[in-house]
Amino acid sequence: MGLRDRIFSRSLFLFHLGGSACNNCDIEILDSLTPKYDLERFGITAVGSIRHADIILLSGIFNKKSAIRVKRLYEQAPKPVIVVAIGGCACTGLIFRDSYNWDVPVGDYIPIDAYVAGCPPKPEAIIAAIQQVIGKLRNPAGAIGT
């Protein structure tokens, strides 16, 4: 484990990128920052600018138009950056995958490190996913979740 990954995994700034989500995933993401779950325990803070981001949380479907934006925002983020897809829509497209404006899952536009399924996923699931990504950063050779 490099020093760089160790430091990186101790302090993560979280940027929430909503792609026309129905708001349920957005509410669950906000829930994980509230007093009951308190992501700041792990050194995670929400930021308002993509330039400060270390984790990008994607929610909602990314259609032909918003895919251009998500690609541009990913390019604007300073590297290294972790991308986590939150909710069924961001993972697979769910019921929207036959829509006229839907092309491919967002994972085909930008590299995604973790998927959290659910409609919407519970805050516990989001925190568990972020913890697994942190564990993976600290121990790349180990199995997921260690």
């Binding site: 760089r4 990186f8 101790r10 007093p35 325990r41 308002g48 330039r51 300073p78």
Partner: protein, 305 residues
């Protein structure tokens, strides 16, 4: 050589950075406890800065890169210098020079100046909105800030920090208490803490002045803000609380540390209980009641109260 060590290590940059980061942890932990959260671990601010140091630096297209990248360093240098002079005055009051209070006041303006320069250099509309708000805020708080500093000057009859510290403390006079209250309000604006966090305004400007910064320059800004959170209360302590002295026994030193922590806690609690003001409300507050209160304090000091 000795001066260089004093500036870079103790009590300058390195010491103030450490103290400032611990102070910012106190700030975040207290905020978390007020909101009934658990809060970040002790070393969190250190990890934040270290993490930003290993991140990529993005320079926006078409902006003057030299200004964009040098602005954070200007702020960091200014606050280190101010902290060095303030701490030096407390440890070695005889080593101060005439007029160092004025130098400190100038140096304390550097971080705001750096933020304004960086914000305008980044060519981001939200950042320039934040920059212009910061500029108005500087104009608003400097007047009461300088007026309240006149009170200890009048009591000590000197503009030298050593003489102000050795003169009887002003915290038992009416004018001293008044000046401390109004100076603390101006200090809250200088630290751009809530209710004066108008230039950064997370939820309307998304970080405002710092929006385009990433990597090491952002780390310098975070460090500067943390150091200001330590230097600001230190300034109030030197001017209105008699400073922090280790030469007169542990009782005095302990009392000084308690006063310093008290001022920091006060700033954090105001931050957590007040809503954000609009820029026009902030200017009305700082140029209206606060300035008149500061003038009243100066007049009282002049009359010997």
């Amino acid at each position: 050589m000795n001066l260089l060590v004093q500036f870079l290590v103790f009590p300058g940059m390195l010491f103030t950075a450490g103290a400032g980061l611990v102070t910012s942890w106190v700030d975040r932990k207290l905020t978390a406890r007020v909101q009934m959260r658990q809060g970040p671990p002790l070393l969190q601010p250190f990890f934040d800065v270290a993490k930003l140091m290993v991140k990529e630096t993005c320079v926006p297209e078409g902006c003057p890169g030299w200004l964009f990248l040098s602005a954070p360093i200007i702020g960091l240098a200014g606050v280190s210098m101010a902290s060095m002079i303030l701490c030096q005055a407390m440890w070695k009051p005889e080593a101060t020079f005439s007029g160092d209070l004025i130098v400190v006041m100038y140096l304390l303006a550097f971080p705001s100046l750096a933020v304004i320069l960086g914000a305008f250099a980044s060519r981001n509309p939200l950042a320039s909105l934040g920059g212009s708000r910061e500029m108005k805020l500087v104009m608003a708080y400097e007047l009461p800030f300088i007026l309240t500093a006149c009170v200890p000057i009048i009591w000590a009859q000197s503009i030298q920090l050593g003489n102000i510290l050795s003169a009887p403390s002003v915290d038992r006079t009416v004018s001293g208490v008044l000046a401390f209250v109004f100076s603390a309000i101006a200090m809250q604006a200088r630290l751009t803490r809530v209710p004066f966090d108008i230039p950064e305004a997370e939820c309307e400007l998304g970080g405002g002045v710092l929006i385009e910064y990433s990597g090491p320059p952002l780390a310098f800004y975070k460090l500067t803000q943390a150091m200001m959170l330590f230097t600001g209360p230190m300034y109030l302590l030197v001017l209105y609380g008699g400073g922090l002295s280790f030469s007169q026994g542990w009782m005095t030193a302990g009392l000084g540390v308690l006063k310093l922590v008290g001022v920091i806690v006060l700033i954090v609690l105001i931050r957590n209980t007040a809503p954000r003001l609009r820029i026009d409300q902030a200017m009305k507050l700082l140029w209206g009641p606060v300035t008149f209160g500061a003038i009243l304090a100066v007049l009282l000091a002049w009359g010997g109260f």
